[in-house]
Symmetry: C2
Subunit: 113 residues, 2 copies
Amino acid sequence: MAKHDTDLSLLFHALADPTRRSMLTKLAETPVSVTDLAGPTGLRLPTVMRHLSVLEEAGLITTAKDGRVRTCAIVPEALVPARTWLDEQRALWEAQLNRLDAFVMQAMKGREE
Amino acid sequence: MAKHDTDLSLLFHALADPTRRSMLTKLAETPVSVTDLAGPTGLRLPTVMRHLSVLEEAGLITTAKDGRVRTCAIVPEALVPARTWLDEQRALWEAQLNRLDAFVMQAMKGREE
DNA sequence: GTATTACTTAGCATTATGGCTAAGCATGAT
DNA sequence: ATCATGCTTAGCCATAATGCTAAGTAATAC
């Protein structure tokens, strides 16, 4: 499988967890430290770190350490591959819808005769 | 967590596997039997069934049995929640981009003085 | 210089995922 | 009636995912 397949898998997998999605939503507002991110989740720090590394490996966030504080921020273009894939699928799926329409039309036409 | 959160998790999780994505792409062409779907994957039937049930629970496909053949088909509107979520995020993330722009502008302005 | 804060690392427990084989069951062909 | 086909179920194995605690380390505050 192509590399961009792997990318998509990482991306969708990262998005498949509600905790991670809410982290992203929070980060969309403004960059935030690890502890501040952890706060609302009720999860322990090591657990949060793990979620962050999943997000980072998927390319969805970057983190940088300044002193003892690590600040996390979204990577704005990271969602593009997911959107692109969905758009492609929508095109394909619509094509099938049209074919179904055509089939139904055909069937109705046949019936009329 | 809200129910539609669960839906999204199921959806993204279903999409996070390359085998399942290629099944969807094939099904986007035309509805197909389980065995025909299994063919190109090189996977055993029980394994394929498992993937299919993940796709079905995510609402991405429907299946119906006619005689001894089960035919699988995509559910065209099933990708909508994923698209919607991505669109919402894009809006939020762009807002932050704009804020960053503003910040940079401010910084540059400050520097000029 | 000691304590606190903010992560980090290591390691553990539980559950989920993705693959398999073997055996079952219903339908269609002979 | 018998056999082949197409799925289905049950159960196993290995690995990955998600949570934790406990014990680090490094930077800051006192």
